[in-house]
């Protein structure tokens, strides 16, 4: 079911920080800070992960000129066990906190919850976003970082980045959230953890489809439909599904994917970028900035998440996926 926000909460600011490898991202100019140390000068990857979340939040707050006590809620998540980096960041930020897990779709699901809190008047300001740190996530889901295994062309690279947005009451000068769709958990029987794009594409398709239907819109009514981290292959599959359902070819150029574009055409990243930080970093830097500059007036952001764990795929389970969408407009 689509949620329509009457009060149209606004994305007042976005804070995005990224790790050293993300210098190679074609979006790096939009990020607030890029660090040369992937651990942020901390002892462990997980501590660096935490620090990254804090810094991204600081940037978002600084831009809007607010301080921690002004923020009513902090919503976020990451991919590490029990989400300790975000939980620990919440401890240091000292803001009432709800941890959210929708895998890589957390970047949008957190914005949806924050917008609802703003809509009902419970929050003046809230922080929402997601993050991922390559080393911490890879060890969680796959092999040790330095293990020399051969990744197939379908694999995606978990980015080191954190993106958080400051959400407040409607403000004309800022992009506003008009509507949102919370996706179902879709399982098309894909079971390859090195081919997440294929697992996630159906979820993105269903969410886009149902959002458009219930909003009574067509793809060409949007300036951009940006998915989270389908990767090059996942995006191809999503386009294939849309064509199958009767979408015209010329409309497909409006569809882009943050993961597929993140590292440009660099083949050493296989199918592209992934991770909760991938979509968050692009949505809360590039998209917000482009909307404020007037490039886009109406954007649909669709973050996709693969809801697997190392345990589940070792036990032979397929990979259920979800996708959440928010519709953002700029006057």
């Amino acid at each position: 079911m689509v949620i329509v926000f009457q009060s149209k909460p606004s994305l007042l600011a976005g804070g995005v920080v990224a790790g050293p490898l993300e210098k190679r991202s074609i979006f790096s100019q939009y990020f607030d800070a890029i660090y040369d140390d992937e651990r942020w000068e901390m002892k462990t990857n997980e501590q660096g992960h935490r620090k990254m979340v804090e810094e991204a939040c600081e940037f978002a707050m600084k831009k809007a000129g607010v301080k921690n006590p002004d923020i009513d809620y902090f919503m976020g998540g990451d991919l590490v066990n029990q989400m300790t980096p975000t939980n620990f960041a919440a401890r240091d930020l000292a803001i009432p906190f709800i941890g959210l897990f929708s895998a890589c779709a957390t970047s949008v699901s957190s914005v949806i919850v924050a917008s609802l809190l703003t809509e009902v008047g419970a929050a003046n300001f809230s922080l929402a976003g997601a993050s991922s740190q390559h080393n911490a996530v890879e060890r969680q889901f796959r092999y040790p970082v330095d293990y020399g295994s051969q990744k197939p062309q379908t694999a995606q690279w978990t980015v080191t980045a954190a993106g958080f947005a400051l959400i407040g009451k409607h403000h004309e000068e800022y992009p506003s959230i008009e509507a949102a769709t919370v996706g179902k958990s879709i399982d098309y029987g894909m079971d390859d953890p090195f081919h997440m794009g294929a697992a996630m594409a159906p979820a993105a398709f269903q969410t886009i489809q149902s959002h458009l239907e219930q909003r009574n819109q067509k793809i060409y009514n949007y300036d951009l439909i940006l998915t989270g981290d389908l990767g090059q292959l996942g995006l191809k599959l999503l386009k294939g599904m849309l064509v199958e359902s009767g979408v015209k070819n010329e409309e497909l150029t409006l569809l882009r994917d943050a993961g597929a574009e993140f590292y440009g055409q660099d083949e050493s990243f296989q199918s592209g970028a992934s991770g909760a930080g991938c979509s968050a970093a692009i949505f809360f830097s590039y998209v917000i900035q482009q909307m404020r500059a007037g490039t886009y007036k109406r954007v649909l952001l669709v973050a996709t998440g693969a809801l697997l764990s190392p345990l589940s795929f070792q036990q032979g389970e397929t990979i259920p996926c979800t996708a959440h969408a928010i519709e953002i407009t700029m006057k």
Partner: protein, 151 residues
């Protein structure tokens, strides 16, 4: 779209792994590693008092040492991405599996971190190596006993 229909689409879009290219790369990189191993083994025979039978141990140790250096500098994973089985099958691949786990789990301490996880990846290699050695030995013993082959 139905699941079966999607599976077909997925198979059309997903590129086939370049098996021939992968095999060639694995062959050359694996061969290169083995050539280096042979050179190390010759080194121990020529400059030290090791015979072909006894040079194996120090050679393996040296190759694992090389793998350790490469893993520490983050180079082995690049070799692995290019060569696949070519760098995973020689003993350097075993070394890489052990050492990468050790580096990874250093943050949890020496005993529970490094000690507990050192053989996380390589453990199954050790286990099934020992088990299969036992069965191969058993089969040979039976064959010798019934007189099909000699030792």
């Amino acid at each position: 779209m139905e699941k079966e229909q999607y599976k077909k689409l997925e198979q059309n879009v997903t590129p086939k792994p370049p098996y021939l290219k992968n095999v060639a790369k694995a062959f050359f990189v694996g061969g290169l590693i083995c050539t280096i191993g042979q050179a190390v083994s010759l080194f121990y025979m020529i400059f030290f008092n090791f015979t072909e039978a006894t040079a194996g141990n120090p050679t393996v140790a040296t190759m694992v040492f090389f793998a350790m250096i490469l893993t520490g500098f983050g180079l082995y994973k690049r070799i692995g991405q290019c060569a696949g089985a070519g760098s995973a099958v020689p003993v350097t691949g075993f070394g890489n599996a052990v050492i990468s786990a050790a580096i990874e789990h250093r943050s949890e301490g020496l005993v529970l971190g490094v000690g507990g996880n050192l053989f996380k990846l390589a453990g199954s290699v050790v286990l099934f190596g020992v088990v299969s050695a036992f069965f191969v030995g058993l089969i040979k013993y039976i064959l010798v006993t019934i007189g099909v082959v000699s030792w």
